[in-house]
């Protein structure tokens, strides 16, 4: 390839500012060549350097007595006892999924799984948090079907159950959908693998798919002059190969059972560049690679292309000298491309050889140390007025109001989505989307067989709250995940997050970002519920219109004994319903307001973290003491929706009453936080109420279980089956225009 002159245009096309380029010149003491410039540009990109978000992420609580590894590695690691560790992370694949929904979503799932098994864990569960535009937006249907098929197509093939998630629809995502995937893996606590390269002269192995010209940044491509035919040089969309991923998992876990691996790192964004530099930087060593050895899918690939390629299903590892053959044998058994492409050095430089020429020789430290770290201006979001129930007229037809809420796009059943996901493979799924449950539950199945413990997993975020008030919305996202884990009797342990926002160079967007982080962090500290991994996705906007702030939270908890498990399926005929938590009838920013009044205004419900914790700890205690039959937390749509979901899942009827003087719409549909609906038998009622009183936890009897109808005093009265059918058919009807068999 003819050496490209590094003109200001080329620098700009690589997304580097003049100041950033000046730092490069100072550190190198010379002009970089195109390959070196490309390497700096990806390492200093928002995606790799977190230059807009780093200083704010630093505020998070990231440790507790259960945290083995917090943020900074490929995924977070927590101790779940008995020598087992759970490793998990969530990541976005928003833009690729908008361009090519199937492959974008599929490769998102593949990427997050690699982050987890890179650390020595067998992936045991997948979750997905999806945000689409308005249901009737011309693009929405195709995006939904492509994204869902892609997530299923990848996870189903690899054989990891997709057990839960969330799906929202809102005009704010018309031009920027969000596809956030989470993976949870199981490892032995004493056999976790890290990315820090060690030693000098240790062999570096490349394993997995061959390198092609996948996903090399369009603008940078355009800036480079090539001699070969340029048609071939078009940046290509990454295509996922779940078959190779599955082989990669089995091969890596097989090698990890030996002592052959010193360090290992998946090749994610900016593939070979970020993986080799992270390994070197963390280990304080240098790395020399011979690019001629890199398995290549296409002819005439340049050093620039190989270093920037984002071809999927590839891993980089430092192998224990003397163990090379063992590694080769295992990877060849699994029919994977494998090559020794270099070794660690003591130069603390990244040196690349290609066609007998040195094409890159740069010190590694500056790539990390000098990476930009901006304190972008941020203006706090203006507070909204509180909207009081009295200001909102009651509906003339409560049955219709209930129906409008139950068929709201965010409330309606997502069966159409999760039936395309294998939820049972690995045979450890205790509960999944199937029940509509608050958290998915997956048994811990360690090397010596199934245990009686389980992990509970949930993803949560209420973007309309975050938009109305980032701080309260941030608190709420963390609080709801903690509540969902609590609702199945789990001890919440830690979270991962995926922070999806607009353009951070706009102070109001940066204000949303900072506000959400502050709110999330307050909740994490209140619950001793640290952040152990995460991902930031910025610039989610089109023509200056940003998405609603969407800090998706992935929570993980542990259920010490599956036999103690409870969820919303347990309500029994004759049970009494008790509501835990205080109800003020908060309708601002509620689903009711949107579905019935077509309004989205009003301050969102505040989250009282102390009350949230007290109520949740009490509910968990009741579950552990076998005091309750059914439990469900209250979130979107309030008491009415929680009751309906419990009725559906438990296959029972429910009758609710309003023991307060709140107007019916506020009582049944208000979205006050920190609340749970529990069903219990006669003789537990008084013990539950009196203990609650002692603890200062609000608790009151709000109805009974029985019959076949869902009735509410002074409000609605419908058959459970009729309501279920409408709730169940909303999405199939949208997607197929017709009714699908259940």
């Amino acid at each position: 390839m003819t050496e490209t002159a590094i003109t200001p245009e080329v620098v700009a096309e690589h997304g580097l500012s003049e100041d950033e380029y000046q730092i490069i010149l100072d550190r190198l003491g010379r002009e970089p060549n195109l390959t070196e410039l490309g390497i700096f540009s990806v390492m200093w990109s928002e995606h790799c350097s977190y230059k807009s978000s780093r200083r704010h992420l630093g505020k998070f609580l990231t440790s507790s007595d259960k945290v083995i590894q917090g943020p900074g590695e490929n995924a977070g690691v927590i101790d779940v006892g008995d020598g087992d560790a759970i490793i998990f992370k969530m990541e976005s694949h928003n833009h690729p999924s908008y361009i090519e929904p199937y492959q974008g979503a599929a490769t998102g799932v593949g990427g997050i799984m690699r982050d987890v098994f890179t650390m020595g864990a067998r992936p045991i569960a997948l979750m997905n948090a999806l945000r689409f535009g308005e249901p009737d937006h011309p693009k929405t249907k195709a995006l939904v079907s492509g994204v869902v098929a892609g997530i299923g197509g990848y996870g189903n093939c690899v054989g990891v159950p997709t057990v839960g998630g969330e799906t929202n629809f809102h005009a704010g995502y018309n031009g920027n959908i969000l596809v956030n995937a989470m993976c949870v893996g199981l490892a032995r606590a004493d056999n976790v693998f890290y990315s820090a390269a060690k030693g000098v002269g240790n062999p570096i192995f490349y394993v997995g798919s061959k390198t092609g010209r996948d996903g090399i940044h369009g603008a940078t491509m355009a800036s480079a002059e090539f001699d070969d035919d340029s048609e071939e040089k078009r940046p290509t969309v990454q295509v996922g190969d779940p078959f190779t991923e599955k082989l990669l998992i089995e091969a890596c876990l097989e090698l990890m059972a030996t002592d052959a691996i010193i360090a290992i790192q998946d090749m994610g964004a900016a593939g070979l560049t970020s993986s080799s530099i992270e390994m070197a930087d963390k280990g304080g060593v240098g790395i020399e690679l011979n690019l001629d050895k890199v398995p290549q899918r296409e002819t005439g690939m340049t050093a620039y292309e190989m270093m920037l390629s984002e071809s999927q299903e590839r891993m980089l590892m430092v192998i224990q000298p003397g163990k090379e053959q063992l590694a080769f044998d295992i990877f060849e058994k699994w029919a994977l491309d494998v090559a020794q492409i270099g070794q660690t050095t003591d130069t603390s430089h990244l040196v690349l050889k290609h066609k007998r020429k040195t094409v890159c020789d740069i010190p590694i430290a500056p790539l990390a140390d000098d990476a930009p770290n901006y304190d972008r201006p941020h203006t706090p979001t203006a507070k909204r007025d509180v909207l009081y129930a009295a200001q909102i007229a009651q509906p003339d037809d409560y049955n219709q109001a209930l129906l409008d809420v139950m068929t709201d796009p965010d409330i309606a059943s997502k069966r159409w989505v999760w039936e395309q996901y294998d939820r049972h493979v690995m045979a450890d799924t205790v509960d999944s989307s199937q029940s509509g449950g608050d958290a998915a539950i997956v048994r811990i199945h360690s090397e010596d067989g199934p245990t009686t413990k389980a992990v509970a997993i949930t993803t949560d975020c209420t973007p309309r709250y975050c938009y109305a008030d980032p701080v309260q919305g941030g608190r709420q996202a963390v609080a709801e995940s903690w509540r969902n884990l609590t609702s199945v009797g789990a001890d919440p342990i830690a979270i991962t997050d995926c922070l999806n926002f607009g353009n951070p160079e706009r102070p109001e967007i940066m204000g949303q970002f900072v506000g959400c982080i502050d709110g999330m962090n307050e909740a994490c500290r209140a619950f001793n519920y640290p952040v152990v991994s995460g991902n930031v996705s910025l610039y989610n906007e089109t023509n200056g219109v940003a998405i609603p702030p969407t800090p998706a939270v992935g929570g993980v908890g542990v259920i010490p004994d599956i036999s103690l498990l409870k969820n919303l399926q347990g309500a029994e005929d004759g049970d009494t319903l008790i509501l835990i938590g205080e109800t003020t009838g908060w309708l601002g920013s509620s689903i009711y307001l949107r579905a019935v009044e077509s309004r989205e205004d009003g301050a969102p419900p505040p989250v009282d973290l102390q009350a949230e914790k007290a109520n949740g700890d009490y509910v968990r205690k009741l579950i552990r003491n076998r005091r309750v039959n059914g439990v469900h937390d209250l979130s979107d749509g309030g008491l009415a929706v929680a009751a309906a979901e419990m009725a559906f899942a438990s296959k029972v009827g429910l009758s609710l009453k309003n023991p307060t003087d709140l107007p019916a719409h506020a009582w049944y549909f208000g979205e006050d936080q920190g609340r749970y609906l529990i069903s219990t038998d006669e003789n537990s009622i008084n013990p539950i109420l009196t203990t609650a009183e002692g603890l200062g936890v609000p608790a009151m009897v709000v109805g009974k279980v029985g019959g076949t109808r869902l009735t509410a005093q002074d409000a609605f009265d419908v058959t459970v089956d009729g309501l279920r059918a409408r709730w169940d058919q909303w999405l199939p009807t949208l997607m197929s225009g017709g009714t699908e068999t259940v």
């Binding site: 189903n156 093939c157 690899v158 054989g159 078959f243 395309q420 045979a427």
Partner: protein, 220 residues
């Protein structure tokens, strides 16, 4: 009673099958790698597990059906060795022509993971005799290509011989005659799309699969 589970590249229900077999027989099954050429002689029952062997590339089960181990499995099954093909295993057995017909893409084109109610079309087989013919059983399906097809004449023969073992009460994939599982004419090879190995534990999908394993293992 020694059992075995075959593993192909990207089989992914092999461990599930092994766990179920160990739970029921009290003995860990042999794990057989697809490159091996013979089924150990002490093996009395083989499961060809579910998954996405070779990524379902070309046709589900097609590439696995050509593996050395399947050629030996074919010989052994012709000599009477009982074999259970689950999901991708069923696809492999039809591709290997150990069972009649073929499994096409689901009629609605979508992967479906759903707990299906099954009717026992034949409760007399070696795989079903412990079931009560009157009862429906709940077993989950999870597949993209479960749409059973056989030409009219083959279908007549299969139905005539009572080779249809399970039928869906609500057909999730468009399969002919609601067929969910069939045996070969000799009755020692069963292929089914639903996953009985996922229903051997109350906490994990129920227990309706246990009788299937006990039926076949009991007759050995």
């Amino acid at each position: 009673m020694q059992t075995a589970v075959i593993t192909f590249p990207a089989s992914n229900c092999d461990r599930d099958a092994a766990v179920a077999l160990e739970q029921i027989t009290g003995r860990a099954p042999h794990r057989i790698w697809h490159k091996e050429t013979t089924i150990p002689s002490d093996v009395g029952f083989v499961v060809v597990p579910g998954g996405f062997s070779y990524g379902d590339y070309l046709r589900s089960g097609a590439i696995a059906a050509k593996s050395p181990i399947i050629q030996d499995l074919k010989r052994r099954s012709e000599a009477g060795l009982p074999v259970l093909g689950i999901c991708n295993g069923f696809q492999i057995l039809t591709e290997a022509q150990m069972l009649p017909g073929a499994l096409l893409r689901n009629a609605n084109q979508k992967f479906v993971c759903r707990v299906t109610k099954l009717r026992l079309a034949n409760a007399q087989t070696r795989f079903t005799k412990l079931y009560d013919a009157k009862n429906e059983i709940d077993i989950p399906v999870a597949h993209h290509d479960g749409n059973y097809f056989a030409d009219d004449e083959t279908l007549r023969r299969v139905e005539g011989n009572g080779q249809v073992v399970f039928r869906y009460s609500q057909n999730p994939n468009g399969s002919r005659n609601d067929i969910a599982g069939i045996v070969n004419a000799a009755g020692n090879v069963l292929g089914m799309m639903p996953h009985p190995e996922r229903t051997v534990d109350q906490n994990h999908g129920g227990t309706d699969g246990i009788a299937l394993f006990k039926s076949i293992l009991g007759t050995l």
